[in-house]
Amino acid sequence: MERRDFLKNLIVGGLALKFSTPVFSQPASPELAVVEGESPSAITREAIKTLGGMSRFISRGDKVLIKPNIGWDRTPEMAACTNPDVVAALVAMSFEAGAKEVVVMDHTINQPKRCYARSGIQEAARAAGARVLFTDEQRLKKMALKGEWLREWEIFQDFVEVDKLINVPIAKVHSLSRVTLGLKNWLGAIGGNRNQLHQKIDQAVVDLGAFFKPTLTVLDAYRVLFRNGPQGGRVSDTRLQKTVVAGKDPVAVDAYGATFFELKPQELAFLKLAQSRGLGKFELEKVRIEKRAV
């Protein structure tokens, strides 16, 4: 973002806040929406509705980038990648809120074309009107992350040059960070030797989380991977949770996500780090949560 744009946004936003109805201070709207139901698409829609509707997050004319987890060459029933219906619902809602363009993108681990096709995300998101793009090496740029550990790293510019960023991770177990949820999903927005980040994974995850500030985090826990993470391999490694967790606070979303794996948020080092960095709250008792079922 250019400095001029930033200042312009600041003034326009300030004026808007001053003269519009005070939506942000409404105590009624929850910080976290947890919706359970049979249809991945319906629970996603209900979760966003619970938070006050997509127009709270997306403005008319916005360029939106949706970042699912498309890391693995795995079909949806393996729960290694985000549920395609959840992604498609978010694409549709972004357009309904007036988005000009919606791009769906992830830097995959397995071969990109295979991941995009076999995860079902390419087809579903395209059908909803999104542009589903492969990451492009040419678009990598070393940027100052100003993290505690990661001072700078190569970032795909597509994730930076957008108006709104929506993070759509899937809930999975991981042998090092124990779970992989929203914050860890940003490993798919960067280039470089990502695997080296595992040497200090909790710090890396928080540094990335502090750099990418999503408008919204929508955790797909329709089918969670509770064994053999982060890619599973058998349907028996997964469990139907039929839930979507959405919120503006990425730490709160991840904290809630931990509970699907019988973990207390305070057991996860990266959540503590994230809270102390001011990225959000992990103490769920302090978070306004609204649960619904459809």
Partner: protein, 533 residues
């Protein structure tokens, strides 16, 4: 007498050029289609060209003593050639088209103009053929090196494809540099969909030979087809009836020699009676160029005699015997005693001796592999196996749910597998190098190999390991431990290992299912283990 060229043969020549261009295009389209199509199974037989090549049928059938059914399609080529001569070379062969094209270009140029007068013997290609077939008798399959389709496809897979990929990347970079963002984006998305492999070991040699073959057209027109092509030689032996026979009308002929000068394959249309029917590829150049339209190809039923090729019984016999003596040289390799740890074959590959008998080094599997894991072997497979496919985990890994390489092999050297079958095939075993592995050697956390292991339950298990640090502290970390029974040797662990130069976990071929001796645990023992309560 009125001088006028034949309109009919002029148009026939144009039709031939069009056909050549069409077949070359078809070849190239099939080449580009040899990639992951977005579905598990390829819908089109991208390797179809190979099935029409009788040389591949002959060589693989003799070497392996089995006939691969799809190759029987080449009998169509044989029958067509018996009746009509080598029109396949002139009209259909994509490598022939390429040589023809460059011959045409070079003829126009000053520097690269091919020589005209040609006394050189046309027999080398026949001798090459006899060496190949004689070696095949001793189960040494040399056909892939000079078979025209293998040569062309391999050159495109290993050399042209990376160049195209590089070109796309450069074009994309330039577009972004010029501020043409959407063009740059389109280019990168096209590249992503084409999934061209970007690097190959030994690409320089394969590429140099390809360029050499092209450049030889500057020496003689269609140099390859005249002197080198063993498939052309085989078709030459089959061209017996040549129902369409060259005929020179003595009334019209003005003895200008133009037809013989411009003959692409030195088949000598002039003087009458010296026509080398086994060399004629029916390009129609002579008939089209004749200033008095004296040349025609009327239909006549008469057996042709092979002439103009100095190929007597003695030479044939001598060459074949040479081939028989040459063949064992390829077998003198220590690989016959002990498998090469670095010789990891694609899943579905037949046991090594049978694999070598069938593989024609065409490069179909190299092209289709989505992760650029398969490379043309240099020394890994011994003298017989140069350019056969070998999986190099450091460059690419075997994608778990992919069986594409097994779907494109034209000779059945790689058995076709369903995805369900493929995931059960073990092609090697991963080994942890504790002197380089971060948790073992440095006491640092890293579970990257375990994370990437695609098998469920994971073949890389994690154990707690204590490492004594120089400070006298004990660093306890999770460290990889490979379960040799469930590891399939896909190589993703080696590929993704953070130790970039020599990874701390490496796959070797031991334990590969296709081999009964390249083992580390006796199957008998495994069976006994299973029976234990």
């Amino acid at each position: 007498m009125k001088r006028e060229r034949s309109k009919k043969y002029f148009w026939l020549q144009r039709l031939r050029i069009l056909t050549q261009a069409g077949f070359f295009l078809l070849f190239f389209v099939l080449f580009l289609q040899t990639h992951y199509p977005g579905e598990d199974y390829l819908k089109i037989t991208v390797e179809r060209f190979f099935h029409f090549d009788p040389l591949l049928l002959a060589a693989t059938a003799i070497a392996s003593r089995t006939i691969y059914a799809a190759l029987l399609l080449s009998l169509i080529t044989v029958v067509a050639t018996l009746l009509l001569g080598r029109f396949v070379c002139g009209w259909l062969c994509p490598l022939g088209a390429l040589h023809q094209f460059f011959s045409f270009i070079f003829k126009k140029s000053r520097v690269l103009k091919p020589l005209k007068e040609d006394q050189a013997s046309l027999s080398p290609k026949y001798l090459i053929l006899f060496v190949v077939l004689a070696a095949a008798l001793l189960s040494v399959n040399l056909v892939g090196y000079l078979d025209p389709l293998s040569f062309l496809y391999r050159s495109f897979s290993v050399f042209i494809s990376p160049l195209l990929n590089l070109g796309l990347a450069q074009a994309g970079a330039l577009s972004y540099y010029l501020g043409l963002k959407s063009l740059g984006q389109n280019i990168s998305q096209t590249a992503g969909n084409l999934a061209l492999n970007g690097v190959f070991q030994n690409a320089l040699l394969v590429g140099a030979l390809f360029l050499l073959a092209v450049l030889l057209n500057a020496r003689k027109e269609r140099f390859w087809c005249r002197y080198l092509c063993p498939a052309g030689a085989l078709l030459g032996l089959f061209s017996r009836f040549n129902l369409l026979k060259l005929k020179i009308d003595p009334e019209k002929c003005i003895n200008c020699h133009l037809c013989s000068i411009h003959c692409q394959t030195n088949a000598r249309p002039f003087p009458a009676g010296e026509w080398r029917s086994s060399e004629c590829i029916y390009c129609e150049t002579c008939a089209a160029i004749c200033p008095t339209a004296a040349i025609s190809f009327p239909l006549r039923w008469k057996l042709e005699k092979m002439q103009g090729v100095d190929l007597n019984r003695r030479r044939v016999l001598l060459t074949s015997i040479t081939g028989l003596f040459l063949a064992p040289i390829f077998k003198i390799s220590p690989l016959r005693l002990r498998s090469n740890p670095g010789l990891i074959r694609p899943p579905g590959a037949l046991p090594e001796p049978e694999f070598l008998n069938r593989c024609v080094k065409c490069g179909e599997c190299l092209k289709v592999c989505p992760t650029n894991a398969l490379h043309p072997a240099v020394t890994e497979a011994g003298p017989e196996g140069v350019w056969t496919p070998v999986l190099v985990p450091r460059k690419g890994y075997c994608e778990y749910y992919c069986s594409l390489c097994t779907q494109v092999c034209p000779t059945g050297a790689i058995r076709e597998l369903t995805i369900e079958e493929k995931v059960t095939v073990k092609i090697g075993t991963a080994w942890v190098d504790k002197t380089r592995c971060l948790p073992y050697a440095l006491g640092k956390p890293c579970i990257v190999c375990e994370e990437h292991c695609p098998v469920s339950p994971k073949a890389i298990q994690l154990i707690k390991v204590d490492t004594l640090t120089p400070e006298g502290l004990i660093a306890t970390n999770l460290a990889p431990f490979v379960n040799v029974d469930t590891c399939i040797g896909c190589g993703i662990c080696e590929n993704k290992c953070v130790v970039m130069d020599l990874p701390a976990i490496r796959v070797s071929s031991v334990g590969e299912h296709r081999s009964s001796h390249n083992r580390l645990v006796l199957p008998v023992v495994e069976e006994q283990e299973k029976q234990k309560p």
